[in-house]
């Protein structure tokens, strides 16, 4: 999938007029990292270990890149937020910051982590100032949910679906296997379709790439939704094929083969190939073209970084 489009002007030159906003955004992120360090350590731990959130760091970088580009389209003077609205945002920031800290202290990780994008959104809301693009930009930290470790319960659902699909596909393929719970018993050995096999990492990565592409290319809502659905479906099917293929390989060639041993990297390799295929198909159906209305606007401003 290519991220370039003919309407986009990707020239990026820095402008001093964007410095206050960029500095404010950076300061807000830095402050949240410093003051809510226990929560960020949980996130960092998830991002730097093999697991369902190992893609998180890449998503965070994509988020930073998107923010940089979005700030580039800001124009006009900095106008401070109205007092009443500002007071509400500050109150919200205090509340969510305190709640996140308390939850982290009590080892209730999900709400502690889930509060981070909300906190950043509130901060960004003030940093952008009274501008037309304020809501769109201040909502962008919600993109980080694709990278945050808040989806473990959903992973269980994906795992159960994967077990069902793999069980059915093995029957179709005529593989003699006994599936008990999450275990697949073969004559050659036993596989466990663990939570790591649920495909959550592919699901979240597909969502993140799709959203990034939609934002970067200014796709319409309809096209963005179609692309998102296609990518999510691709990630699910890909994982089902991956797990089925590994089990089939174990049945045919034994447990000690390259496919079985390298099933983890095989997954990412398949994902990359599938990404290209889906991108080509989506491009063929015109899903990747920006909207006719948005295109002229994009030409000079949307994709340009701070000038």
């Amino acid at each position: 999938m290519t991220v370039a489009n003919e309407h986009a002007d990707v020239t990026t030159s820095f402008s001093i007029s964007h410095m206050p906003v960029l500095a404010s955004l950076a300061m807000i992120v830095l402050t949240s990292v410093l003051t809510l360090s226990p929560v960020w350590l949980i996130i960092w731990s998830a991002w730097t270990q093999l697991g369902s959130y190992e893609h998180g760091l890449v998503i965070a970088l994509l988020f930073g890149f998107l923010m940089y580009k979005r700030v580039g389209r800001l124009s006009g003077p900095l106008i401070a937020t109205r007092s009443l609205l500002y007071a509400s945002v500050v109150a919200g920031a205090v509340f969510f910051s305190a709640a996140s800290q308390v939850c982290a202290h009590l080892s209730i990780e999900l709400p502690a982590v889930a509060a981070i994008p909300v906190i950043l959104s509130l901060g960004f809301f003030v940093a952008i100032g009274e501008r037309q693009e304020r809501l769109a930009i201040s909502a962008m930290p919600l993109y980080l949910y694709c990278a945050l470790p808040v989806w473990d319960q959903f992973s269980t659902v994906l795992q159960m679906i994967t077990v069902s699909v793999v069980s059915a596909s093995l029957q179709l393929l005529g593989v003699l296997a006994y599936v008990d719970g999450t275990f697949v018993y073969l004559a050659e050995g036993t596989f466990e379709i663990a939570q790591g096999c649920s495909g959550l990492r592919f699901f979240l990565t597909a969502a993140a790439i799709s959203l990034f592409f939609s934002a970067f290319n200014n796709l319409t809502a309809a096209r963005s939704t179609a692309l998102l659905c296609a990518m999510l479906m691709m990630s699910l099917v890909l994982n089902w094929i991956r797990v089925s293929a590994i089990v089939l390989s174990g049945d045919l060639f034994g447990m000690d083969t390259f496919v079985v041993r390298s099933h983890y990297f095989l997954g990412w390799l398949l994902f990359a190939v599938a990404l290209v295929v889906v991108g080509k198909v989506a491009d063929r159906f015109g899903l990747l073209s920006p909207s006719p209305i948005a295109a002229p606007a994009a030409a000079g401003s949307d994709l340009a970084g701070p000038e």
Binding site: P20, Q49, V90, S97, V102, G123, P149
Partner: protein, 227 residues
């Protein structure tokens, strides 16, 4: 411009104030994790309970009540059935039907050495979450597919007043560890309460009866009526 800068400074300050006020409130509540560790039997899945009533016994027994149908079928054969209705949920849900001792032992070892922390993982039919309490020590939370985290914690909290939260309960790998959070001023009360509850549990403890080799009929514990 000046007003904008002040507003940005204000929002930054609000994050600091929020986190600091939370810390202040937590410090004021005078709570901190209290970790109590006891050596237990390595073969904690099937061996007898530790002798003296203690917090260890409580957790151990609590875990036994969950894994309350453990029985031998021979020297190399152990069946571990898990009954959800010991928690008053109703209905028996057998989650594990293993018949190899080594599998049970490797399960404990795998949980203990599992590299992914704070993730819900499913191993051999049970859901586990491994939490790093310190660089050298991990706590293991076991819970049910259907009910989610906190079953053991809630059960303890329901029965005690001084314990604010049980942070971990690890009964694998030969060490039983309870890490609980309690009000420092009431910690003694909390431990006493847990001990009392532990003693009550032990008085109705399940026994793990060795069946004759080849006998596939499960022999349940003495508290079958509660299962």
């Amino acid at each position: 411009m000046i007003r904008y800068i002040m507003q940005v400074a204000g929002i930054v300050l609000s994050l600091v104030v929020g986190a600091a006020s939370a810390n202040w409130l937590l410090a004021r509540s005078d709570s901190k994790p209290v970790s109590i560790s006891f050596p237990a039997h390595v073969d904690g899945w099937t061996s007898s309970l530790p002798e003296s009533p203690s917090v260890t016994n409580f957790v151990s027994e609590s875990a036994r009540k969950i894994d309350s149908r453990v029985y031998r079928k021979g020297d190399d054969s152990i069946q571990l059935d898990v009954a959800a209705d010991t928690l008053g949920i109703g209905g028996t849900d057998r989650l594990i039907r293993e018949d190899r001792t080594n599998d049970i032992r490797s399960l404990a070892a795998r949980v203990h050495s599992y590299p992914t922390l704070n993730r819900i993982e499913s191993i051999d039919g049970l859901n586990w979450r491994v939490e790093e309490m310190s660089p050298q020590r991990y706590a293991v939370h076991a819970y049910w597919h259907e009910l989610g985290d906190g079953i053991v914690k809630n059960r303890i909290e329901m029965k005690t007043k001084s314990v604010l939260a049980i942070l971990s309960a690890d009964s694998s790998y030969g060490i039983v560890t309870v890490t609980m959070m309690c009000d420092l001023k009431k910690c003694a009360d909390a431990i006493a309460e847990v001990n009392a509850f532990s003693a009550a549990l032990i008085s109705q403890k399940a026994t793990f009866i060795e069946a004759k080799p080849g006998n596939d009929n499960p022999v349940h514990g003495t508290n079958d009526d509660q299962l």
